[in-house]
Symmetry: C2
Subunit: 100 residues, 2 copies
Amino acid sequence: MSYILQVDFPYAGPWGQAMTEAMEGLAHSIAEEPGLLWKIWTENEAAGEAGGIYLFKDIPSAEAYLTMHTARLNSFGVPHVNGKIFAVNEALSQLDRGPV
Amino acid sequence: MSYILQVDFPYAGPWGQAMTEAMEGLAHSIAEEPGLLWKIWTENEAAGEAGGIYLFKDIPSAEAYLTMHTARLNSFGVPHVNGKIFAVNEALSQLDRGPV
C-alpha cells in the first residue's frame, strides 16, 4: 500500500526554468526524505499557485513530511498550504496505468 | 510538457476492495480517455473523501476531462468537486524520481 500527498499553495514565482534553478537544491534534499517514493513538481502561473504530488511508502512518513513542509513554506512567506493525504487504490490505478 | 489534474470530493464509500469492484468498469473507460497518460485512484475513509491524480498530455484534454468528470460526479450525487490543473516542472520532478 502506498499513499498520495497532494499539496498546493499560493505562489508568485519564479516559474519554469527559473523555478528549476531556484529550487534545484531543495529538490535534491527532498529526494532524501524518509519514506518518499517520488515527487512531481507542479506550477500554474495563471492561477498563481504551485505545489507537488508525492507518493509515500506509509502514512507516518507522509504526515511528518506535510508538517515539516508546511512549516518550511510558512517560513518562505506562504500564508496557507493545502495538503491532503489519501490511500492509493492500487487495483484501480493499475487499470489506468497509474505509477504506484 | 505534461499536466497534472488533481481531483477530490466528498465520498461515502464503498472503500478498498469493494470500491475496486464497484468502479472497475469506470476505470476501464477512463483508460481510454483522450490525452490521458495515467490516473492514480485515491481514497480516504477517515476523511470521507476520494479522488484521483491524473497526468495528461495537454491542457485541453485535462480541462475537457475535468468538465466531463465533474458533471458525472454530480450525477452520482457528489455535490462539490475540487479540481486543479498544473503544469509539471519536469526537471525538478526528475530530480525526485517523478514519473512524468
